[in-house]
Symmetry: C2
Subunit: 650 residues, 2 copies
């Protein structure tokens, strides 16, 4: 874990860009670089291309000038920040944060009734009971590991983005039309969702979720001291309903997974086949395994009644030795980690983590494996030594693979076909290039790489340490996302991008695939409950500004139109349960309003044509202003009103 030596620019693996960069301050570069001959309006070129400078050429590639648009959406899983981020690529600019498992101060995520419904309705009864016992309705943190857009026939279809929460064992769905989370499902019986990937064919379909840790099933206080009775659980969630479809009990701890392009198989890397509890116990065996799930066979087992129902979920036994023909365990060198399907639909690449190898499995051989015609080892068609600490592999659609090397802090480019031939004994050199990344790379992903439309333009290295790469921000450092140009024969490292806790993983999608709306539709399901309340109260949300008293419950309906709230003032009694519905009747693009209630801890976003609502007990007496916190007008600051909270007997 010591700091890699970067003092010698001639060191193998340092890119030419870095050599150029070494020792130059930004000011030096600013003064010396950039004198390109040209005329205004066109970028006419002169000079010999042979003399082209790589630094300038590459920087121009990633430069998205003011007024220009990025070519890709990057969906960043924000790790333990609990959020999802939308990036523009190749500029590496963070365009938006989507709160999911976290609380968000600006939008009121976790505070508004609309977000609380999303956050609470998919929790298990046991979790609801636990949270109620400590006076809470939701968890307030999450650990987003993977963000994956939905597929139709192996290509992105722009409907949804699915993410998992390792911290509190949940899966969430984000609507890509409005870029908001609309469903969160807690997985019963499983513990910590680590890997998440999607059914690619015919469409998504299933969300495949790896329960990492082994626990008693159900986890109700039994077998605390007998970990031989603990189990890991694999879950398939229905992407259309976000209900748990089925679960499979497995052997070992599940890590990452990936699905084929035919809708038949999904495979998961698995560590701790020893089923130990300490690092030493988990490292004892020479080999661990990947667990292959046969989807039609699991569906058949459920039809046949071959399951146990625990916490209202059907669990099929897929452990080693199970009589059901639903899983196979293919032995792989110790602690395999990454699990990535090649975009040609033929292979699965397993990255070795503690073994310096990648192992290649051929999907089509799995039919024969499940039919008992071949052995587990027969499904392996490649095994290549790539470097120390291989974690994940991505693809360029031109037959090349890019594997992250955590211990070496490098990315290695290798050729798939040559790796297959080398395994057959042919004398070829599949390794094409290695470059340094900074430092300790985890995930890696390339544009469109997880679809049949992999286009091999850009690759992002998500590095876990940044150390000295940025000006010092104290003991807590950012991670470092590095952009690599993979469009040519050689990888070129082009940009360092710091990130906060963390970029766990990222998926990059051609911009044309995603078509969000600009203004909410008034019949959107996100505020269906508000419409129901309005109907009950005889209110037209888009025009009425009224206070409805219902015992000690008060419902306040108001519109917002820059720079005025429909209600300039309203009065309630201390102790009332107050619900405020704000409907933004502006329909201009980007004209989001906000509603902040001073000294009440309340703030929410109300985007164009949306309704948002919040419920609270008015226990803080006196005059409390509400104001619009989303800048909307020259008189934005004057967009305010007062809630008067009457103290009894005053």
């Amino acid at each position: 874990m010591s700091k890699p030596d970067t003092s010698n620019p001639e060191k193998e693996g340092l890119s030419r860009r870095e050599m150029l960069g070494t020792g130059l301050t930004a000011a030096t570069v600013a003064g010396a670089a950039g004198l390109l001959t040209g005329t205004a309006g066109t970028l006419a070129l002169s000079g010999s291309p042979a003399k082209a400078d790589e630094v300038e050429e590459e920087q121009a590639k990633i430069t998205v000038l003011p007024g220009q648009l990025d070519e890709y959406y990057g969906f960043w899983s924000g790790g333990h920040s609990g959020e999802v981020r939308i990036f523009g690529m190749p500029s590496m600019r963070e365009l938006m944060r989507i709160p999911v498992f976290n609380r968000d101060s600006a939008t009121g995520w976790g505070l508004t009734n609309e977000s609380l419904k999303v956050l609470t309705e998919g929790l298990t009864p046991a979790t609801k009971e636990y949270l109620a016992s400590i006076g809470r309705r939701t968890f307030e943190n999450g650990d987003v590991h993977h963000a994956r857009p939905s597929y139709t026939d192996g290509a992105y279809d722009g409907r949804y983005l699915f993410v998992n929460d390792k911290a509190n064992t949940r899966v969430a769905r984000i609507r890509l039309d409005v870029m908001k989370c609309d469903k969160i499902t807690e997985l019963p019986n499983a513990h910590a969702v680590h890997g998440l990937r999607l059914q690619r064919y015919p469409r998504t379909g299933y969300i495949f979720c790896n329960g990492e840790h082994r626990i008693p099933v159900p986890n109700a206080g039994k077998f605390l001291d007998d970990n031989k009775k603990w189990h890991s659980i694999f879950t398939a969630v229905d992407g259309d309903t976000m209900a748990v479809a089925w679960q499979v009990m497995v052997s070992g701890n599940l890590d990452n997974n990936d699905a084929d392009y035919k809708g038949k198989y999904v495979a998961a890397t698995s560590y701790n086949s020893e089923e130990g509890l300490t690092v030493a116990d988990m490292m004892a065996a020479e080999k661990d395994h990947i667990c292959v799930f046969n989807i039609p066979a699991i569906e058949q087992a459920i039809k046949d009644g071959n399951f146990e129902e625990v916490n209202a979920v059907k669990i099929v036994d897929g452990r080693k030795g199970s009589k059901l023909n639903v899983t196979r365990y293919i032995p792989i060198a110790k602690s395999p980690h990454g699990c990535n399907a090649t975009p040609d639909g033929k292979y699965l690449v397993i990255s070795g983590k503690l073994s310096p190898t990648v192992t290649i499995v051929e999907w089509d051989k799995l039919d024969d494996l499940f039919a008992g015609k071949i052995t587990e080892d027969d499904t392996i068609v490649g095994n290549l030594e790539v470097g120390l600490g291989p974690l994940h592999t991505t693809f360029d659609g031109r037959g090349n693979c890019y594997t992250s090397l955590f211990l070496d802090s490098q990315v290695v480019k290798w050729n798939l076909d040559e790796a297959l031939r080398a395994y057959k004994g042919e004398k070829v050199t599949p390794i094409k290039q290695k470059i340094d990344v900074h430092y300790q790379i985890g995930h890696i992903n390339a544009t469109q790489a997880e679809t049949k439309e992999a286009d091999g333009k850009w690759c992002v290295a998500l590095n876990k340490f940044s150390k000295d790469r940025f000006i010092n921000v104290g003991p807590l450092k950012p991670e470092n996302e590095q952009l690599i140009d993979i469009s040519g024969d050689k990888m070129v490292l082009v940009h360092d991008s710091p990130s906060f806790a963390e970029p766990h993983d990222a998926t990059m999608v051609q911009a044309s695939k995603i078509k969000p709306i600009e203004v909410w539709r008034r019949d959107d399901p996100m505020f269906a409950d508000a419409r129901d309340w309005a109907k009950k109260d005889g209110i037209t949300l888009e025009s009425d500004n009224k206070v409805i008293r219902d015992g000690d419950k008060v419902r306040v309906y108001m519109t917002s139109a820059a720079p005025v709230f429909g209600l300039p003032q309203f009065k309630v009694n201390k102790g009332d349960e107050v619900t405020i519905f704000v409907t933004n009747i502006d329909s201009i693009i980007d004209l989001t309003h906000g509603f902040t209630l001073v000294n009440y801890g309340i703030a929410m976003e109300v985007a164009p044509q949306a309704t948002a609502s919040v419920t609270f007990v008015a226990n803080n007496p006196g005059v409390h202003y509400y104001y619009c916190q989303w800048f909307c007008h020259a008189l934005h600051m004057e967009m305010q009103g007062q809630m008067l909270v009457q103290e009894a007997g005053v």
Copy 2:
């Protein structure tokens, strides 16, 4: 609020850069640009500088190549996100988020005992009572308007960063040695802190806080229907203790403020001199005012006992007509907004908002004003028409001012000396240049501009709308921070940077001024309480791994050293109140550990050599894993343990 026309690239005000950019896709630029002649290792130049292309030249200036460092820290006030962000400049990369008023999923801000102490101990008794009545300990949102680094003699001294929360009327301090918030103070009697600036001389000193809204003082349920008895309150907080030093009751709503360079005066813009409640009432008068506070006079009034004590704070009457000589009200055209001291220490520039003018006040004339020798109008030494919707002004240290124009969506550059001469009748043209920004600019700030060391290199335009400037991310759009090069005769717009809710304001500081530590000191006050508990329990935090039972309270002490927690497992009973102390005994830079407890909603950061702790009730029975969520080692994923929660009677 309609979308500005950008279809015609010849339109006046569009920068040359934008004209070049118009119609070119990033791919086109990538293919055509960047062929600079040069040799590896040095950026030798050929070709005539006269042919230099502005686009390339400017892009090279803001390019901070991989491995290079930025020249400035940018301290971004994250608006209603409730956080502070650290940027690297000129690369405009977000290096770190500092949670302040918000909850943070990754670091456990708002969940750990250390952060809860910061968030709760400065709340007023009334707020504590209110929050307790609804089952909470803290507010969970904030609206950070201004982030300002501490001064010694008019220059940044690198000690602290101070920020204000408009939403819940608080002020916070961030330690710049560790980049963490260590104190939060709620201001009693005031309502919504809008403007915040610092005492510049001899040092900070006072934090000057504008209470924006008029409320009853105290706000305890009286005078709800009689807003003539409502008041705005100006507060000075002691930056060393973070206690409220004193307050001044004023006329009108306070907006922004700024202090002089001599430690004598602070001035605040004020709207709604009418003291109305609706937009129409607030707009009735032709003129509003700035309120000037005489700091020595206020201190003297308090010494003399000329104050009223409300909620344990001394309030001096500074309203219009007060007999105390502590304030003066200088009439200014309707609804003045920005309030910015020039770096030469001589002037204060007031931006007109609803008037197309900036008004210049001379600090040194204020002595005579308070002495009754001159009138309020005599302190005004300039009044320049600059464009529609002037909001804020910043400076380059070479005598030029840059004012944001909200309605025009432009930045106007004007010369201070010429503006003063024009006011005296001289025929000069102070306006030097206008450029378009995109869209609806609010704050603007330049490097070091608020110190006597203003260096005039970069300027950031913080625009409230982005509309069509980025690929579409749905109804909620990012704001747009634009970087402007102000080092030359002409402003040049060089970069669009999207931002999430929001960049309210930003301050940029030369990197050499800030010297954070890399690893926590074991005697840091941030975890003093943990040390106290350890002492009581006979525990050495840095080496002991023990569980202490104390009735139904359980204290769990463990170390973390990659890749192992000191305790692999511990057992508690359902219903126990459990406190877990984790001490990171790794001292390698960037080796932060985390502690996440699965299905318990608990996660916290433990940076190198820090201790963090969390207290919860173990009401969720069964086996619960804890794991390190801050990637630390090749066996990071195996860094885990189990909390066994015993159900009574099982």
